[in-house]
Symmetry: C2
């Protein structure tokens, strides 16, 4: 079987920012580290575990930076992501999502011989298949029962949680670790009051699920969940014991468009682009939606009063926001703040880490995006 | 500098379709080859050159299948794509887009020592930088002047084409090859009459540009352009001599939503997904917008009367379209037709080619997506 070759990085350690080829995914390391510190301090003072979601960055180096600041491990959504991070040396990975294919569960069980692995379930079939794979390997896996706390996607109704928890504990090698309770749709409600109300509802559902588990005679050690848009509300609820926020580390345009509640995070992820065509009233940059995901809207042009219009797969079209506004010239660098971190990172092979700012900084790190493309 | 490792293919040659891991990008080879034959026959009977756009498939094997059926070469949008295809043995590549960075133009010139390379320009600066790079290498590059025929993105006004053509021929190593005239926005107008009107306008702009070139004393050998939505109209115009359509080979949901004009193409590109969670009235598959691009809308569920709702990066939510409609069961395979081929292919590392249909076929080929991620 043939494999594709990975792309060459767009810069080397020691390069000035001006030398980074475009389009490139650039991390402002100073802002990034401040974001990590802010969230680590919040979790510490709240007395909560922090398990950042690595679906966002897919990068061993970022996971290690989070763990070095006190994170207990990371979450992922996919078996392939777990594999890439464990291969890179991350020792505690939670697949906060259902896996139903037996051959994938065999991979999960094999990983559990090399690292602490947890996984979410929401069906008897899923538990039975997981148990069979774990038993065959003589492995041990922590299992969270996922409860639908408002997302309407995966997860069971709260009254069903107890029966599934009993199913889990009936199997050798499976430990019931608690409840997965994440409300994705709440993250992007612009008004803090709306997010707070959604999480108040999610808390009541999670409490009902916990009651169902304990009524079934099973102890419920932990409720885990929360995202960058809502974690302050989960934190004060008294229900969650672990926060899974991910985007706070890089901070995208969409999360920045939320009216804030709690600690603030800075944009640390940028697409460096270049003007490759100029019209009288528009400039075209060499970054389209093959360089940045647009599922949560278009990027914001950073430091220029220009709007960004979708120019297709490989182009973005900039126009001045004001009649007397300036457009960048042919060949100029334009920095973009992506609409959504997670799928933007997934389009690239490397994170180019810059120290000293986007204007005159120097490349300090070139991190492979280890789980890029690991949607399996 | 570290590089990322490529993902392992989701299947091996000889596997049954049921063995392909999910989510995977699967090509129905029978439908694909019929599409290639249909377009090759159209170009032949129209007396036009066919230079399919490889930005769509980014794959040496697909380019070679097109060239074997008479295509003169392929187009790409990016230097990195050209490099990947030339490295794979494609000997005639046209970068139908502007390149302005000197270090990229050095790469273009280096490629031109190994293959026939053409490129588009729309500025004096671009021509001068290209000429300098080509001269330094002692290379030879064909140059098309891009005219804005209605897209409002790159390209000059028709009256400026002659002056740029003169700039091109003034430089040793640059040959003026003609005009780039592509109307991207016309491709997705649903009504054939609307597409025809847009291309009629584009034809008049291209003719004016050609007149400007000949008035400047430069011969204009070729007008190149057209896409899957409009090529029948360019073909009958008498203006274009070369067609650049790309999506016809795989055919996505968005192009299939156009009311047809001319030859019909079949869906040949699918995402194989699996139901990994079931609710009472919905099924969740393991394919979200990290598996298929959603810039042109959501995928269509193939062969089931189910709607597809966006479930985020890693999930899709299926609901029955009718009150008595059936939902797939936990673990079932679900085939999706992506909304847009090009950025969907760019998310994956391999095209899994299946012979004999999606139900009972066998994997015949595993093609690396050679230029995946080559947005540079």
């Amino acid at each position: 079987m043939s494999t594709t070759s990975a792309r060459a990085p767009r810069a080397a350690v020691g390069d000035g920012v001006d030398r980074i080829d475009t389009p490139a995914l650039v991390v402002d390391l100073d802002a990034f580290e401040r974001n990590l510190d802010t969230m680590a301090a919040f979790a510490r003072t709240s007395g909560l575990r922090l398990r950042p979601h690595a679906k966002m960055h897919k990068c061993v180096a970022v996971a290690q930076a989070q763990i070095a600041r006190g994170a207990v491990g990371v979450c992922v959504q996919k078996t392939g992501e777990a594999q890439a991070l464990v291969d890179g040396g991350v020792s505690d990975v939670y697949i906060s999502n259902e896996v139903i294919a037996p051959h994938k569960l065999e991979r999960v069980a094999a990983l559990a011989l090399r690292a602490k692995i947890s996984i979410a379930v929401d069906s008897v079939l899923g538990i039975e298949r997981l148990a069979a794979a774990v038993h065959a390997r003589g492995a041990r896996v922590d299992v969270f029962v996922e409860v639908d706390v408002g997302q309407g996607r995966c997860g069971v109704a709260p009254a069903e949680a107890g029966a599934l928890a009993r199913q889990v504990v009936a199997h050798e090698g499976l430990r019931f670790a608690g409840l997965q309770a994440y409300h994705g749709a709440a993250q992007h409600l612009r008004e803090p009051a709306a997010r707070e109300a959604a999480i108040r509802h999610a808390a009541s559902v999670a409490q009902a699920a916990r009651a169902s588990v304990t009524a079934a005679g099973v102890a419920c050690p932990l409720v885990t969940g929360a995202g960058t848009g809502s974690f302050v509300f989960e934190a004060v609820s008294g229900v969650w014991g672990e926060l899974q926020a991910g985007s706070y580390a890089f901070m995208d345009r969409d999360y920045a468009d939320n009216l804030p509640a709690g600690p603030r995070f800075e944009h640390a992820l940028f697409v460096k682009s270049q003007v490759m065509s100029r019209g009288a009233a528009h400039a075209v940059v060499d970054a389209g939606h093959k360089s940045h995901a647009i599922d949560s809207g278009l990027p914001r042009v950073w430091g220029l009063e220009c709007s960004f219009a979708n120019g297709g797969d490989e182009h973005g079209v900039l126009r001045a926001m004001h009649a007397r506004g300036a457009l960048p010239a042919l060949g100029d660098t334009v920095w973009l703040v992506p609409g959504h971190c997670d799928p933007t990172v997934n389009l690239h092979d490397h994170l180019i880490g810059v120290r000293g700012g986007l204007e005159r900084g120097v490349v300090e790190s070139v991190w492979p995006i280890d789980a890029r493309g690991a949607c399996d």
